[in-house]
């Protein structure tokens, strides 16, 4: 791909997201067009913003994790963040502290991710694989605890399930603002490490010889991605697929230069989630189907197409 093509592709990613946002603002159960300014400003705009923030966080952290874990299957939830957030929400729900649901989910995600990182660091082979394995195992364990809580507290099942399927309907303005700031900061911060990531893809030996502190970089970026994932979970619950496929799509089209990859994964991730959420609430309005279904429905064929063509 030559320089001009790349410029155009980058522009197309931005354009897609801008169109997605406009489309979403003009889609809804109350009919095409914005209906009334009340619905526009109090319902659609916050919802579109929530979807964009969550998608951007997932896209960017997916790009980060795939790079530092050197694993194409690495997704934002592989490190146990979503399982931990789920447990946090479940605990808040059964103890009656429902106002603390969002902070509890946020904290739960971070704590479990921290434990995963600590466990992996105890392993003799300090490879990215041990981090992935620790994440998978911790996720199962933590999810089992969550399910146990659900079985014994059927009355609160709905609160927990909601969270696990992801929904943008109930986001509070405070959570949205908090996550937006957090995720923006995370994206900017990880851009500072873009060069190190580029070098690291050449192999650890090369990176070391070029003066990159691999384990420190990995640790810092792992923490940054955990913060971004927790932020997106706080506004949207657990939304699958976006964090896995968005970075791949960007990489297929633009290559693995991390400055571009991270930034455009955020832009495209945000736009993609806004688009799928608009379809999720518009297709069968007023019935809302979980955005995750649409995400996979449109994302999977598109991804397969790229896989075959690329």
């Amino acid at each position: 791909m030559n320089y001009m093509d790349k410029k155009i592709s980058i522009l197309l990613f931005f354009l897609f997201s801008a169109v997605a946002v406009l489309f979403a603002l003009f889609t809804g159960a109350a009919g095409w067009g914005p209906g009334s300014s009340y619905i526009m400003w109090n319902i659609r705009v916050p919802r579109v913003a929530a979807a964009f923030v969550a998608g951007a966080g997932l896209g960017a952290s997916g790009a980060l994790l795939q790079a530092i874990l050197k694993n194409p299957l690495a997704a934002p939830y592989v490190a146990g963040t979503s399982a931990g957030a789920g447990l946090g929400v479940a605990l808040a729900a059964v103890t009656g502290l429902t106002v603390l649901e969002t902070p509890a989910g946020f904290a739960g995600g971070l704590i479990v991710t921290g434990i995963v990182f600590k466990m992996a660091s105890y392993s003799k082979r300090k490879t990215p694989e041990s981090l992935v394995l620790a994440g998978v195992v911790m996720s199962s364990l933590v999810s089992a605890v969550t399910f146990m809580i659900m079985v014994f507290n059927r009355d609160t099942v709905f609160r927990i399930l909601f969270f696990q399927t992801g929904s943008f309907q109930f986001v509070s303005q405070r959570a949205l603002f908090f996550s937006a700031v957090l995720i923006t900061a995370g994206i900017v911060f990880s851009l500072l490490y873009a060069r190190e990531l580029d070098v690291m893809t050449q192999g650890d030996d090369v990176a070391v010889s070029l003066g990159v502190e691999i384990s420190k970089t990995r640790k810092v970026l792992f923490a940054v991605s955990a913060l971004m994932v927790s932020g997106s979970v706080a506004v949207a619950g657990v939304v699958g697929f976006v964090g896995l496929i968005v970075p791949h799509v960007v990489r297929f089209i633009l290559g693995a230069t991390h400055r571009r990859l991270i930034l455009l994964s955020a832009v495209f991730g945000g736009g993609f989630l806004v688009f799928t959420d608009a379809l999720a609430r518009g297709l069968f309005a007023p019935m809302e189907i979980p955005a995750g279904i649409i995400t996979a429905f449109f994302g999977a064929p598109f991804f397969l197409y790229l896989l075959i063509k690329g």
Partner: protein, 274 residues
Amino acid sequence: MQKYLAIILIFISACSSDISSDSPEGYISLSPAVTEILFRLNADDKLVGVTDYCDYPDGVSEKESVGDMVNPSIEMIAYLNPETIFTAGEPQEKLAARLTDMGYNVVEAESRSIQEIYDNILKISEITGNPDEGERLVSEIKKEIAGIGKKLKNRDKKKVYVEISASPVMSPGKNSFLNDVIKKAGGVNVSAGFDRSYVLSGEEFIVEKNPEVILILSEAGRGRKERMKRVFGREVDAAEKGDIYYVEEKESIVRPGPRVSEGIRKMAEIIHSF
């Protein structure tokens, strides 16, 4: 770039001329039971929105739907701009909080017992402005239930197991509306020893309790009935005597609304086979 942004903003603000500055009016019911109550109180002309699950009475199909019960379209609710929104229970707690935040008058009207159905009918009739109608409806239901009680006076109470879910196997506990219905229908709920609204019972529990009648209200339906017959054989009275029933038209039995007396009658007919 700024020029385009300005154009987009102007476009958006032009489209969003305020059309819903009218004052809020009417009710939205997010509960099938409340919907039935509103119809029975003749307040349905002010009912502007219901859920996809509100299926009774006939007139309900003409009402605008706002989607499903726990995750309806909040946008649609705002569009319909109601004065009062009725919710029912824990699953809608989060939704209720959001709607309250938006400035709506949200009224919680879940009924977990027959008494609470009466309370909610009276509460709703206050809101709709015809409390007399509410009083009348409550005493009518009470009379019907008392009538069923009279019919059952000389019959022995039977041990009843009601299955509300097959996977996992669940039955109504002591703190449930169905426990009330079973009692009024001349039965003894074998799961009433548990001080909660549902019991994770399991098939061994059923064998141990040895109910005389089994009512299947779960979605598992007919296949479940066949399995119970086969598995329980002679170990459970209900299986031996063929007193396992799958209730197809179960809405009046499971819905804590004004058709509760009809539900009790239906259950009594099954339990005492008349």
